[in-house]
Amino acid sequence: MGSVHIKDEERIGSEAKVKLQPSVYLQKLYETGTPDLGWMDNMAEWGVRAKPGNLGLRLKDIQIGTYGQIPDHGGDHRSMAPRGAVIPEGLPSLGFTLNEKAEVWADNAAELYEEAVARQWSSARDIPWSELKPLPDDLERAMCQLCTFLTEVEFIAADAPTRWMSQMNQDFFEVKMFLATQAMDEARHMDVFRKRALANGGGLGTASVLSELSLKRIFDAPSFSAQTGRLHLLGEGFVLTMFRQGEFIAPSRVDQEIFRRCMQDESRHVGYGTMHLRAQLRANPDVAEEIHEQLDDAERILLETFSIPESVEPMAILMGGGVKNFDKGMELQGQLWRRIVHEYLQRCDSAGLDRRPRCILPTDFSKLVDTPQDAVVS
């Protein structure tokens, strides 16, 4: 009968435990040959004609009429029924727990999603691996230790927010779509730094207890916004500066391309986090204390992380251009530390979080050796 050959077709359903009754609708359809078409009179807002802009048809171009209205409270049905569609009775709830717009929203989520999709890259195709040349042993070891750190920490920005992603009301799908791109970005970062460590005669270095502690605290954050403060504002902001630093310290064009492309991705993540916290803090100023508490702890761990050789020395060696210029590298690292703290506090300002009085990160790198006793991680 059919033109498609299905292997062992006669066996299909021979052991099925459930027997379905043909639907009344299908019986009628086969008997009369007349389609129902009732659904055609049950559409949502009709006559919508979104027009593409100069960069194609983007999400912002379809924010039209009721479809462009982002509700303050996500749909009570808690299902994946599309925002703006006709919602039938009896939708099974998926049990979303983040149902308030302020809990997840950022005004730039759709823009960042489109940008992320447009600016994807491939570590296999876009990195000029064939140009990789042997490096002096100290530089290769330092680069490999740095890549080990980055391979270790990068995927937390996929694993952690996607735990909450499945809890987000589907009416805020733009945020979910952006977070999906963030997860893809982090997969690529883990992939590219692992490849770099294994591509030039080196290998992976030592994993870090303190990095793992930092990741665990991000993973265990009590709310999405608290996690965003910890992850996007401090963690990714810090890594963003490392990526920028990575281009500066790159001993080759291969490393330069890797870090520059990762930097672009990371900037989007920081942009989402900053704007989400801005929206959340405007709607719920009391959340500030929860975020402050997360940052109190996160800053302490960051300081601890910068107290061990495998965190400090690879960057200094790469900054200085070798072990022989270690002092120069440390001096440059000190200059960068000020920038890290400055930009972190600027992002807190932009998010509407007055972090300056509470921040324990010293602006002077040399003060890291004077870390007070009560700043030790417990």
Binding site: E115, E247, Q256, R260, S267, G271, Q346, D349
Partner: protein
């Protein structure tokens, strides 16, 4: 042929950007308005130049001298002395790209020879979000006729 940093010089880069087409589309779109500030070197009698630029997707849609920065409202301003800009452009002409530590990102990172100005970190971060596009745009200077 206009010379750096005249708007016509940037617009010539813009035409090359459109001609390159696929290369910039592969990098992905960029949407930013920014300014380039060229500060005279010590002993240089020339004044400061401030050029406003708009990248709209895959094209440089505008370049003009800017008098009032606030009126242009850039996301960020890239500032450097003329000699630093000239060194970058010379390296681009010679090899197609600046040396590793003389890229826009590397120079702006240390903030000594080149620095960014912005009123909002979020808007400044567009310099990083679109950095490859910005650098590749400048790298097109290697294709401009010598003057």
């Amino acid at each position: 042929m206009p010379s750096f940093p005249e708007p016509g010089w940037f617009l010539a880069l813009g035409r090359l950007m459109e001609a390159e087409g696929a290369r910039f589309q592969r990098l992905g779109f960029a949407e930013t308005r920014f300014a380039v500030r060229v500060i005279p070197d010590e002993g240089d009698n020339g004044g400061e130049n401030l050029v406003g630029l708009i990248i709209d997707g895959y094209r440089l849609s505008d370049a003009k001298f800017v008098g009032q920065l606030e009126a242009f409202d850039p996301d960020f301003v890239i500032c450097a002395r003329r000699s630093v800009w000239n060194r970058m452009l010379r390296e681009i002409v010679e090899t197609g790209r600046p040396s590793l530590r003389h890229t826009l990102s590397s120079l702006a990172l240390m903030g000594e020879e080149m620095w960014l100005e912005s009123s909002d970190q979020l808007r400044e971060d567009k310099f990083y979000r679109y950095n490859q596009t910005l650098q590749e745009l400048l790298n097109l200077a290697s294709q401009l006729p010598a003057h």
